[in-house]
């Protein structure tokens, strides 16, 4: 008896196996390419800004654009009044503008709805007070005073060896920050701010209350320009 012939792959089966291997390799390449490209696309487009930041940005821009529209409408009205009213209308507009700007610059006492924040702490620095003032300004504060010292951008809040001073006057804790503006937005900001302060070991007390009429009697003394020219 002769030995049975050794089984060998038939010539027809070899290309079939090769095809299977190639198909699998192709699938692997395809999946890998799709995976790498889709991830690369995400990474490329997300450079710098995440979607949450964009959402906040959209919210801020909507609010900003609403404020700009209101300002434009107000200015258009003033322009129309000046165009039709002559000199007496100009006097009225200018007087109203002067009063408004004096209030903005902190040159006159003011009152209105707002909040009062009280912070009692030891070791807080000028930077902490600057941050608090900026947070409230970003929440739409229209007038601010700390311990009866009027504050606006441009008023020096600095650190001295004896503590924090506002425009040269020492303001010792507890700080009572009186703010006039939209009470909803201000309360939201104050809520966040006081919550954060509670986790600061230097802070003994951080509270706020909403008031229908916050009165700010302190004023800023305007310094004439020495270096600036119109």
């Amino acid at each position: 008896m002769s030995a049975p012939p050794r089984r060998v792959s038939s010539p027809r089966r070899r290309p079939k196996r090769a095809l299977e291997i190639w198909l699998i390799a192709l699938l692997v390449a395809l999946v890998a390419t799709v995976q790498i490209r889709s991830q690369a696309e995400v990474e490329r487009s997300l450079v710098g800004t995440d979607t949450t930041t964009l959402a906040f940005l959209i919210d801020d821009l909507h609010r900003a654009n609403d404020a700009l529209s209101a300002e434009a409408a107000d200015l258009a009205q003033r322009k129309a009044a000046l165009q039709t009213g002559g000199s007496s209308a100009a006097d009225q507009e200018l007087s109203a503008e002067a009063n408004r700007l004096r209030a903005i610059e902190g040159l006159v006492p003011v009152h209105g709805p707002g909040i009062v924040v009280i912070v009692d702490a030891s070791g807080l620095q000028a930077l902490d007070l600057q941050d608090a003032i900026n947070n409230l300004a970003a929440a739409g504060a229209e007038a601010i005073a700390v311990n009866d010292h009027r504050v606006a951008m441009g008023v020096a809040v600095v650190q001295t060896p004896n503590g924090v001073s506002i425009d040269g006057a020492l303001v010792l804790p507890p700080w009572t920050i009186s703010v006039i503006g939209d009470t909803n937005r201000l309360a939201e900001a104050a809520d966040l701010m006081t919550q954060q302060m509670h986790s600061d070991r230097r802070v003994r007390q951080a509270t706020y209350r909403v008031e229908a009429d916050v009165v700010i009697t302190s004023i800023i003394t305007q310094r004439p320009f020495v270096y600036a020219n119109p």
């Binding site: 889709s38 906040f56 200015l75 700007l101 610059e105 970003a138």
Partner: protein, 240 residues
Amino acid sequence: MARNRLLGILVVAAVALATGFLVAGQVRAQLLTPSNQVARYQALVRSVQDLEKANASSRAKIASLRSDIDGLEGAAAQQSATTRALQNEVADLRAHSGLTTIHGPGVLVDLRNGTPAPDVNGQIGYLINYQDMQDVVNLLFASGGEGVSVGGRRITPLSSFSGSAGQIVIDQGPPLTAPVRVLAVGDRNRMFAALEDPSALPDLRDREVRFQISLAVTGVPDVKLPAYDSSLQIPHVSTP
């Protein structure tokens, strides 16, 4: 032949294993989600861009209206001494509020992001942020600055800074990112000395060393500041 066959099986097994890993990886990475994320992200970016265009257009309109009003007030002032006196008073108040352009000696401060590095305490330390701007502007005003602008945006008594990561939002303007140029008119020597003082701006100084953030100060004989071009309303404030 048996060796070849075994080799073939091993290759197929290895390829199948690799495919399995890749498919599993793909499923975990949610193959479809990234494309949705991209679409959603792009929609958000388009919204931001549209809102920024509207913002720029409104600010240009406000600047134009203020200029028109100024012209009309000037014409009215020609006819009456009372109006002229009022106009002068308002012009001074407007200049102090940042509503008009000013120029004079001052400083120019250029702030640039540093080298990307791992976050420290959840902060992205190598990016210039809104608090850096707030600190620089406060220091300038405390050191003899009479007017300041940041990235072409004039600072007013009601100005505020906000933003996240490397974005700086000032008042109602669109976000700025570094490099940002801060201009200040005022006592040039005092402002320059304050900015060069190593004990001032401690956070920025620290990040200058750790992340190579750049703060460059130049004294300039004549700096021109733009006028504020946004809203300056105080609807909740009353005067007695």
